[in-house]
Symmetry: C2
Subunit: 196 residues, 2 copies
C-alpha cells in the first residue's frame, strides 16, 4: 500500500502537491468537509478529477494528506537527547496563528468524523496514530535515559493530556491553544504527572 | 433572573418537568440540535408551544436545562472532607451507560455550539460554569486543609485535565469514558500534578 501510494504520488512535483493541499485546506475552511467535493477541488486547482483520484485515491485521503502538510514538524522527527528538550522543541515549532487556524479546522472535522468512517480511518492512519507513536517513542527514549520511571502510570496518558488540552481550552476559556498555554500546561501538568 | 425563572418553572410539577426534559434529550439524540424544533417538542410531549416558551424561554435554555437534569450529582454538592474522598464520590456517582450516552450527545452539541452563540451561552451559564466553579471550590477547600500547596501551578488546569480526558479518550481510543478510566486517569495524572 505504501509503495503503491508513493508511486502514485511521485507523478506530480512537491510544489504542485503543496499548492493542491493548500487549496483543499482553503476549501475545507470555506465550506466544511461534507460540502467539499472533488469537483470543487479540481476547479479550484485547475486539475482533472482523474488526477486527484489517481494521486490521492479518495476525498478522505486527500483531506488527511492536506492536513498532514500543515504540520511544521512531526513529533517523530524530534530527538534532542532530553525530555525537556524534546517538549521545548515541540512548543518552539508550534505557531500560534497556525494553531488557531487548526483549532477551527479540527472542530469542523470532529463532527465530520462521526458521519464518515472513511474520514475517521484516514485521519487516524495518516495523522493521529503516527503522532501518538512518535510521542510514545519520545517517552520510551526518556524512560531508557532514566528520566521517567518505567512503571510511571502517567506514561499511558500523555496523548490524552495533550490532545485533551487542545480541545478543552477553547471550550473552557473561548480561546485556542498558543505557545504560552502549551508551555504552562506541560510544566504544570505533564512533567509533574511523569515525575520529571 | 433566578427568581423569575423559578417562578416560571414552578407552574408545572417536577415529574412533568422530568418527562419534558427526557423527551427533549430523546429528540436531541434522534435529530440533533439544529433540526430540533419547539413544535416537535410540543408534539412529543403533548404540550403547547406557549407552555414551553413560558417555562424555558427559548430552545437553547430548554436544551441546557434538559442536559442539566441528566447529571446524577453536581460537583457543588460533593464535600466529603478530603480531596481523595471528593474525587472518589464524583466517580462513584458517574454511571458508565450515562457517560456513553452523554459523550454522543455532547459530540453533537460541540458542533451546534459554534453555530449558535445562544446555545453556547446557555450551556456555559447553566452547565459548564457552575461545574467549574464547584470544582474550584472543591480544590480551594483542599488547599485550606493543606492537601494541596496554595501555589501549585496545576490548580488552574484541573478543568482542562478532566474535560480534556472526556473528549480525548473517544478520539484516541474510540471508546467513551467509564469509571475505570476516570479512576486511573485521576490517580495517574490529576493527583500527581496536584502533588497529592
Amino acid at each position: 500500500m505504501t509503495e503503491e501510494v508513493s508511486s502514485r504520488r511521485s507523478r506530480i512535483t512537491p510544489e504542485r502537491q503543496a499548492e493542491l493541499h493548500g487549496a483543499v485546506l482553503d476549501l475545507l475552511r470555506e465550506v466544511g468537509y461534507e460540502a467539499l467535493t472533488m469537483d470543487a477541488v479540481a476547479a479550484r486547482t485547475r486539475s482533472s478529477k482523474a488526477t486527484l483520484y489517481r494521486q490521492w485515491g479518495s476525498k478522505p485521503e486527500l483531506v488527511a494528506r492536506a492536513l498532514q502538510c500543515t504540520k511544521p514538524v512531526s513529533l517523530r522527527e524530534i530527538d534532542t537527547g532530553s525530555l525537556r528538550g524534546d517538549f521545548a522543541l515541540m512548543v518552539e515549532h508550534s505557531d500560534d496563528d497556525q494553531m488557531a487556524k487548526d483549532t477551527a479546522l479540527m472542530r469542523g472535522l470532529t463532527h465530520a468524523v462521526h458521519e464518515s468512517p472513511e474520514l475517521h480511518k484516514a485521519l487516524r492512519d495518516l495523522l493521529v496514530d503516527p503522532e501518538i507513536n512518535g510521542l510514545h517513542a519520545m517517552l520510551r527514549r526518556s524512560v531508557d535515559r532514566g528520566e521517567i520511571a518505567p512503571d510511571c502510570p502517567a506514561l499511558d496518558f500523555v496523548p490524552h493530556m495533550l490532545i485533551g488540552a487542545f480541545i478543552a481550552l477553547p471550550l473552557i476559556e473561548d480561546r485556542p491553544v498558543d505557545r504560552d498555554f502549551l508551555t504552562d500546561f506541560i510544566d504544570a501538568v505533564v512533567f509533574p504527572a511523569l515525575g520529571v
